[in-house]
Assembly symmetry: C2
Homo-oligomer: 172 residues x 2
DNA sequence: CTATCCGATTGCATTTTGCAATCAGTTGCA
DNA sequence: TGCAACTGATTGCAAAATGCAATCGGATAG
């Protein structure tokens, strides 16, 4: 499978890669949610993707060079999906999409806190995050000093904090 | 028409707005190509959009608050479409999409030179461009000093330069 | 032995898209 | 006045994509 190439315009070609309702959602869950397995992506996604669509998109994203698949050594039937450098460099796009959506669309606070953190951190934080993803998915040596909290930890902590605050607001 | 709201995630909601093959192409032609009329969008797009799809997307983008429509005083049948602030703030997303596509996809040089210029100019150039779009589409006073070449002029000049150089390469 | 989990695949109904033809009203020109 | 060209669309129809539920054979845990 390859893209249609309706034109050689970079924006058009980018849209041909992930200008559909699911490809970028899957990549979002892998990048920000840390999901690597079929079932994690199937059941973990808030939006409820169908299994046939998920299978099709994973295949497509592999053929386009955004993902790779490998056997999970812990389980003969499990496949583990990894992001390629091509997919990791989508982080700035994700950050901008999140920032725009947060301003203009009816987002929920729990889910937009990550976009806010990513926006506030700016390009340096994006770089740190991409470095971590290269470490996780490509086995690259991490350049961040030991002891530094990972971006994913920060994102998770920010999310938990909002959820806890909301729960408290209900009980009081 | 409103979006489905499969989830309150900013990235998901952004995708629900322009996660299809045409909406962002139309906005690209309006933003970078300066097109404001139905026929300009129909015939000018490199990708060849069908008229029914164009009509549908224009309607949808209006309902979502990204475009407005007004009568063209010069012609009783002409409609002129304008970008809203919501659409103008897509410029950073367009820039990132273009930058990513330029690196990873088989873009043509003529069409990617604009993405390159936008990338090199960075956020300050994006801001200047958005200011110009607010002037053109919203009637806002322009903050750029008189005499400064507009971003669209720069984009056009860069494009012409590449085309001319290519033509020369053929004849020599 | 069996219930559960694994990554998918199948069949089918619904929705979206692509394409060509066409619409009624407006305009420019002879 | 007449007529061709142009305006923003709309219609009908075929093809493709999507959504949904059920199911597959193999692997694993108890």
């Amino acid at each position: 499978m390859s893209i249609d190439r309706r034109s050689g315009c970079p924006i058009n070609l980018s849209l041909e890669v992930f200008g559909d309702r699911w490809s970028l959602i899957i990549l979002r869950d892998m990048i920000f949610g840390g999901r690597r397995h079929f079932r994690e992506l199937l059941n973990g996604s808030l939006e409820g993707i169908a299994s046939n669509i998920l299978a099709d998109r994973l295949k497509r994203l592999m053929e386009l060079g955004l993902l790779t698949k490998a056997d999970d050594p812990s389980h003969k039937q499990k496949a583990i999906y990894s992001l390629t450098e091509m997919a990791i460099t989508l982080v700035p796009i994700m950050a901008q999409l999140g920032a725009w959506g947060r301003v203009w669309l009816p987002v929920t606070e729990e889910l937009s806190i990550r976009a806010e953190l990513l926006e506030k951190g700016g390009p340096p934080l994006w770089e740190q995050f991409m470095d971590e993803l290269r470490h996780e998915h490509l086995g690259a040596p991490s350049k961040t000093p030991p002891g530094t909290p990972t971006v994913r930890q920060q994102l998770r902590a920010a999310y938990e904090e909002v959820v806890a605050r909301k729960a408290e607001a209900v009980t009081t």
